[in-house]
């Protein structure tokens, strides 16, 4: 009972998400929703390392692309059965994350951000230039849709939608479990102060690497889903602009919050669509909004709501405290 009560809002949204395909058969809405879900999975990955662990990684469009290309190449060129290819793609992304993380995490703060930005750019250039493997700028065509799992096939928009939704829910549950467990506390400790984390016996390098690898894994999941959903990929998915888009989703939604990635991605993706008619002018608004947001709502929409709730709670507590005004905070112990 209490589980439902505590998570009422998310569960209501989940319910809505579940019935959407029954309410509309608008393929376009389903397509947009599915895309938004896929991107939010990638943004959840980013949130783990950048939000919870405090290391701003700008290589995640690269991991997204590695996942996507691995799946594409394995299914198109190597004819590996879909789900086997899917797992392999994740293994490849995770290993790439591990190798890059091992080196990248030796750097700190700005250096880490720019290092990962450069790594992302190198991934882009390699995809772009290595056309024997990746098809270069032409991209990969004819990627398979997700293969059937037993009797369930994924050739309709609805089935794809549900498939991606399942992955998204799993991602969120994963993040929630991690964030609320001792592992999440460890990451938060590193974010707050790496120095202090070390003194209390946390192997910060190992933990950061763990966080980085998991986050790359999720970017890879999103990439693989994307490849089989759009069924065509080109190098632009790994470009810096994709990275900036993902970062925008994260910041707008709320970095370091559980629902920020979903809220931000969903909001911006749908907003971009509904403002289609503005074409070029969209960015004229988005740019300044982004700036205002980081100035006035540094923790994004979800963070803003949390702050507001916390303040209300605080005021309530203050009132209570006043009523039961007694001092004495500690007594030296005994």
């Amino acid at each position: 009972m209490s589980i439902f009560k505590r998570n009422a809002t998310p569960l209501i949204f989940l319910l809505i998400a579940l019935v959407v395909p029954f309410v509309t058969d608008n393929q376009y809405y389903l397509y947009i929703l599915t895309l938004a879900f896929i991107w939010s999975i990638a943004v959840y990955g980013m949130n783990l390392i950048s939000g919870y662990t405090g290391q701003l990684s700008l290589a995640h469009a690269g991991f997204f692309a590695i996942g996507a290309y691995a799946l594409g190449l394995l299914t198109v060129d190597a004819n590996v059965p879909y789900w086997f290819a899917f797992v392999l793609a994740l293994v490849i992304t995770t290993v790439a994350g591990l190798l890059i993380g091992l080196i990248a995490l030796r750097t700190k703060t700005h250096y880490f951000a720019i290092y990962t930005l450069c790594v992302g750019y190198i991934i882009y250039l390699v995809i772009y230039q290595w056309d024997e493997l990746t098809g270069g700028v032409r991209g990969l065509i004819g990627i398979e849709p997700p293969g059937a799992i037993g009797p369930i096939t994924f050739d309709s928009a609805e089935s794809n939608y549900y498939l991606v939704l399942v992955f998204l829910v799993l991602t969120i549950v994963f993040m929630k479990f991690i964030a609320e467990s001792l592992v999440g506390r460890t990451f938060a400790a590193i974010r707050n102060s790496e120095e202090l984390a070390q003194t209390i016996g946390i192997n910060t390098m190992k933990q950061k690497l763990l966080s980085f690898v998991i986050s790359a894994f999720f970017a890879g999941v999103a990439g693989a889903l994307y490849a089989s959903f759009v069924q065509f990929i080109g190098p632009e998915i790994s470009y810096t602009m994709t990275m900036f888009d993902m970062l925008t989703y994260l910041i707008v939604g709320g970095i370091g919050t559980l629902y920020g990635p979903l809220v931000g991605t969903f909001l911006i993706v749908t907003l971009t669509q509904s403002l289609q008619f503005m074409e070029e002018f969209r960015m004229l608004i988005f740019g300044p909004i982004l700036v205002l947001l980081v100035i006035f709502y540094p923790r994004g929409i979800v963070g803003g709501i949390q702050m507001w709730k916390a303040k209300r709670q605080y005021k309530k507590n203050q009132k209570l405290a006043k009523q039961a005004s007694n001092a004495s905070t500690y007594g030296g112990g005994d």
């Binding site: 479990f177 467990s181 001792l182 506390r185 707050n192 202090l196 070390q198 209390i200 905070t329 030296g332």
Partner: protein, 258 residues
């Protein structure tokens, strides 16, 4: 000796911050390290606790050479420390700060978190119990749910003690625990340190507050410009000419504060 350093040296570029220092820290005692600003006291802590790599020399803890061990490993062996400028997770509650302090004694990882294994549940419970225990020990039970950024300077010092104690240490290194708090509160902290020793812990602290040092230290080590210039009991140190010259102050001019 619980901890012994031999020829311990730490150089930053051309500057030798710690210069061939031999100190011994006796189990169950309070050892104080004093010396002028920049004498190398904090650096000595940083080297012993694995924060800085040693330039030369060895550190032995419980008979084991820990010179090359990194900070987190040193902590696992049972050496805890606090920082000169209080270093806590400001945006978390006191309780959360202390709970994570016990992390090094727990084993559950990502898979435990996902599967919600019994081990995770047990360890979460243990961490919380440990946190409650040490918060009670340092006298912060009432503050446990407040944000660190909202509590007083003195409470922060206690919270820092609590975090250190939550790691289940054998010895705690305290860097200027009484800096920035008033004399009354200083007495409180002094009592707390005594209590730690009574519970079987070994304490090693850096302080400039001489009154306090002279009162509680069993053994004092004096550093000056990276070198150990004296050690001994408080009485010996107070009457040591070299120390008076370098730190306590000679002549009537420098009869020193506190």
């Amino acid at each position: 000796m619980l901890i012994e350093t031999k020829d311990l040296t730490k150089a930053f570029g051309g500057l030798t911050a710690v210069d061939n220092v031999d100190v011994g820290i006796e189990k169950g005692k309070i050892t104080a390290i004093i010396g002028p600003n920049g004498a190398g006291k904090s650096t000595l802590f940083n080297v012993i606790s694995g924060f800085y790599p040693t330039t030369k020399g060895t550190v032995v803890f419980n008979g084991e050479d820990i010179t090359k061990k990194r900070a987190f490993n040193v902590a696992k062996l049972g050496i805890a420390r606090t920082f000169q400028t209080t270093n806590l997770f400001e945006q978390a509650t006191v309780m959360d700060n202390v709970i994570v302090g016990h992390r090094l004694r727990t084993k559950s990882g990502v898979f435990d978190a996902l599967l919600r294994t019994p081990r995770l549940k047990r360890e979460e419970r243990e961490s919380r119990e440990k946190a409650e225990e040490v918060l009670a020990f340092v006298g912060l039970t009432k503050e446990s749910n407040r944000l660190v950024s909202d509590i007083s300077q003195e409470a922060k010092k206690r919270a820092a003690f609590a975090v250190a104690l939550a790691t289940d240490p054998e010895v705690v290194f305290l860097d200027e625990p009484a800096a920035g708090i008033n004399p009354d509160e200083t007495d409180g902290l002094t009592n707390l340190m005594r209590k730690m020793v009574d519970h079987g812990l070994t304490v090693c602290l850096i302080e400039h507050k001489m009154q306090m040092i002279m009162e509680i230290a069993d053994h004092i080590v004096v550093l000056n410009q990276g070198e150990k210039i004296a050690e001994g009991t408080p009485e010996e140190i107070q009457n040591n000419d070299t120390v008076i010259q370098a730190y306590l102050g000679g002549g009537e001019d420098a009869a020193d504060a506190q």
